[in-house]
């Protein structure tokens, strides 16, 4: 067998620690109270449509995404709107959210809740995009970019491939892996819907080689569609980055500062494909998702199907977390996830996992002087020099940072991960990106 495909520049291979890989997806009980933020997507927040005291059903539209890059929000529970208030979210800030006190579990009757697989795609291309918009689907890989916007290809660009991301390169996380094993047929239908919505003839599903069972099952399910190819990939982080995935699968490089459509590709996560299946075939909005609850201080590493708005705390209790030994709770994976400052934070559309670290693994390694080993340069998947960018940021040399392509950084964290001196390279680079981004926007205004 020839060398497995992977992306060209850099990359790291942290210990995989997929503790929850054998735990089948469990349906998590409906919470007593759901906190549903109105901004769960990349872009503008949605506008609430309900008032305090109003009764809502599961699947009811409760906030409408009105800007171009925005997404609808639906109620994940049935009950009464308790309040619309500022609640702590994943970022640690208070943001507007609709709080619903749960009463029973009454679903909107238009939602098809039967488990029957519906393979035939009846909607037209335009209606598919409309449906995806209506059902509030966002990219479930973590970036939460509104999916319908992605499907609207700009004038003059021609999509050629739909790339489906089943890489799950973050250590610990297994949500996509379990989904591919348990909802294989549905994902394939979702992929076909996305192909139709996008108007492409070819799709490639990329899955890392540490999930041989998922590769086998997905390939089997895709075998009746010759236009869908399942491709195993060498395990390397951050292969789930869309530019890296396209590079791994097709050898193409998305030009600096451009979107994948530039090389005729569009990337969607397997979780998104499943959500699209449910939205288009079953008329079900994005009101629940698979969340991996894992970590060394969790007795029962699990994969739960969770209603949006469920407090993280409840997941931890159910997975038997040893909170006394826990020092850090991360929403997402260990490489790109966000550390939470409260356990009341609700699960949102972008929550792929909740990861616990023991007290002794919660702090960073000892900070030392940079020894110029160049490892950060070697592992950077974008071919940047993190050590240099961090220095430019620390010294406010924004123009130098910009000309050394700081905006190409996707914050994968490989540099900080690999640094023998524990330099907080990414902290500085984030700061630099923020400032350089402002500068670029200001130039645009003049």
């Amino acid at each position: 067998m020839c060398a497995l495909k992977t992306f060209r520049n850099g990359g790291v291979h942290p210990p995989e620690n997929k503790l929850s890989v054998t735990s089948a997806i469990e349906v998590f009980p409906v919470p007593r109270q759901a906190v549903i933020p109105v901004n769960q997507n990349l872009g503008a927040p949605a506008t609430p449509l309900v008032n305090k005291g109003e009764a809502v059903k599961v699947g009811q539209l409760i906030a409408k995404g009105e800007s171009f890059i925005s997404s609808n929000v639906h109620s994940s529970v049935s009950g009464k709107v308790l309040k619309i208030d500022e609640m702590i979210d994943q970022t640690g800030f208070r943001k507007k959210a609709i709080v619903i006190s749960v009463d029973g579990d009454e679903w909107d009757p238009s939602i098809d809740r039967s488990p029957m697989l519906k393979k035939e795609i009846t909607l037209s291309k335009e209606d598919i995009v409309k449906k995806i918009h209506e059902m509030g689907i966002v990219g479930l890989g973590g970036a939460t970019f509104p999916s319908h916007v992605k499907l609207m290809v700009p004038e003059g660009k021609k999509p050629e491939y739909l790339i489906i991301n089943g890489v799950e390169c973050e250590p610990y996380l297994t949500a996509d892996h379990r989904l591919m094993l348990e909802k294989t047929a549905e994902i394939i239908v979702g992929v076909r819907i996305l192909m139709k919505g996008l108007g492409v003839e070819k799709a490639i599903i990329g899955i890392e080689n540490n999930k041989p069972d998922a590769i086998r099952k997905m390939a089997e399910a895709a075998s009746e569609y010759p236009q869908i190819l399942v491709q195993g990939l060498k395990v390397k982080y951050p292969q789930g980055g869309e530019k890296q995935l396209i590079n791994a699968l097709l050898g193409r490089e998305v030009p600096s500062g451009k979107l994948p459509i530039e090389v005729g590709c569009l990337v969607n996560n397997v979780g998104t494909a499943f959500a699209v299946y449910e939205a288009v075939q079953k008329n079900k909005p994005l009101i629940e998702r698979i969340v991996t609850v894992t970590g060394k201080t969790i007795a029962r590493p699990s994969n739960y199907l969770v209603r949006i708005g469920t407090p993280v705390q409840e997941l931890l209790l159910s997975a038997q977390a040893d909170l006394d030994r826990t020092g850090k709770v991360v929403s997402g994976g260990p490489m790109m996830g966000k550390a939470l400052n409260s356990l009341e934070v609700p699960v949102v559309k972008g929550t792929s996992g909740v990861l616990l670290f023991a007290e002794e693994h919660s702090s960073r390694i000892q900070l030392r002087a940079c020894i110029r080993c160049g490892r950060c340069v070697g592992v950077c998947p974008m071919g940047l020099e993190p050590v240099l960018l961090a220095q430019y940021s620390a010294r406010s040399m924004w123009d130098n940072a910009e000309s050394n392509l700081i905006m190409d950084c996707m914050e994968c964290g490989s540099c900080h991960y690999t640094c023998p001196s524990g330099r907080p390279l990414l902290d500085y680079i984030r700061m630099g990106k923020n400032k350089v981004g402002q500068n670029i926007r200001n130039r645009g205004k003049k």
Partner: protein, 333 residues
């Protein structure tokens, strides 16, 4: 859990912090150290111990009383410098000279720039070159290797030139390579370390074993060693092919003098070499070419130390001129 720790991603770190790298290098140097004790006996042990203790002492004293920073002698870098400096001097070097070398290496070449990570030049090499220029006689008096057991015993206190020294002198005196060959150790002897020279440089085999360990542990990458060796082989090979009576073959150049020590242990010093692979390849090639120019036509028989130090000076320029291959950028902007 009283309070949750909040920090930016990533939340995990690779398990190779600085001390692990430094002690990894020390472990890699153990085979060569043992060979030096075997061939040069107590003298080698004395130089080694003096050098290590002096380097640690100077680092500690400067950090504590002059820089007043956190103590850094535990990070292993001073230990590496100590061993490397000892590797680079003859086993007969007087104790006070070794201490002077350690002072120059640590105090002048490293701490005066701000300590680990700030030094533009390889500290051990600066120490060695300082000694070579200040005490040329003592630094070029090479005790003949005298195996501890079972070896052919030679009388005490015999010193002789290094293999490269024999060649340089002979060629300068107008002899040809075939006339010189009988005077040289066999290739096998050179590989094992049965030749005159500095403590750590004599045995190519021992150094290669250590290098293999460093590759296995991913302490060093292949870029600098490979381009260094290739440059030496190509450069010396061309002249050897032109005139084998005047120039020795590439294999000879690789396994004599400080070549293996320089290639794997000193040119690869992270602090003073370029940060990206393209730069590393250029750096290695530059080291190789300079080494051969000095060896073939320079005043000294050996050019490894000078070559690496000169290339160290070019490192910032290389870092500035050669950028890594950017993802999604066709032409450098």
């Amino acid at each position: 859990m009283s309070l949750l720790t909040v920090s930016g991603s990533p939340h995990i770190h690779s398990d190779q912090p600085v001390p692990k790298i430094m002690y990894g290098v020390v472990i890699a140097m153990i085979p060569a150290m043992l060979v030096s004790f075997y061939f040069f006996g107590l003298g080698a042990a004395k130089v080694m111990l003096t050098s290590i203790l002096a380097c640690l002492f100077f680092e500690w004293v400067i950090q504590k009383y002059l820089l007043r920073g956190p103590l850094t002698i535990n990070d292993g870098s001073a230990l590496v410098t100590g061993v490397l400096l000892a590797f680079n001097v003859p086993s007969s070097l007087p104790v006070w000279m070794t201490i002077t070398g350690a002072f120059v290496a640590i105090a002048v070449a490293k701490m005066s720039f701000g300590g680990l990570g700030q030094n533009p030049f390889n500290p051990a090499l600066v120490g060695r070159v300082f000694l070579l220029m200040s005490f040329p006689v003592q630094m070029t008096t090479w005790p003949i290797p005298k195996p501890l057991f079972g070896g052919t015993a030679v009388t005490d206190a015999i010193s002789g030139p290094t293999t490269l020294g024999i060649v340089k002198e002979g060629l300068d005196a107008g002899k040809t390579v075939s006339e010189l060959l009988p005077q040289l150790p066999t290739y096998a002897g050179e590989l094992l370390g049965n030749q005159g020279g500095s403590l750590g440089e004599v045995s190519a085999i021992a150094l290669l074993i250590g290098a293999a360990w460093m590759f296995w542990k991913k302490i060093i990458t292949w870029h600098i060693p490979v381009s260094y060796i290739l440059a030496v082989v190509i450069f010396s090979g061309i002249f050897w092919l032109i005139n084998p009576e005047q120039y020795l073959d590439p294999v000879f150049h690789l396994i004599t003098g400080g070549m293996m020590l320089g290639v794997f242990y000193m040119a690869t010093d992270m602090v003073s070499s370029p940060i990206n692979t393209k730069g590393m390849l250029i750096f290695g090639a530059g080291c190789g070419i300079l080494t051969m120019i000095i060896r073939l036509w320079g005043g000294y028989p050996e050019g490894v130390s000078f070559a690496i130090l000169i290339m160290n000076a070019f490192t910032p320029l290389i870092n500035r001129s050669f950028k890594p291959r950017r993802f999604g950028v066709v032409k450098p902007s």
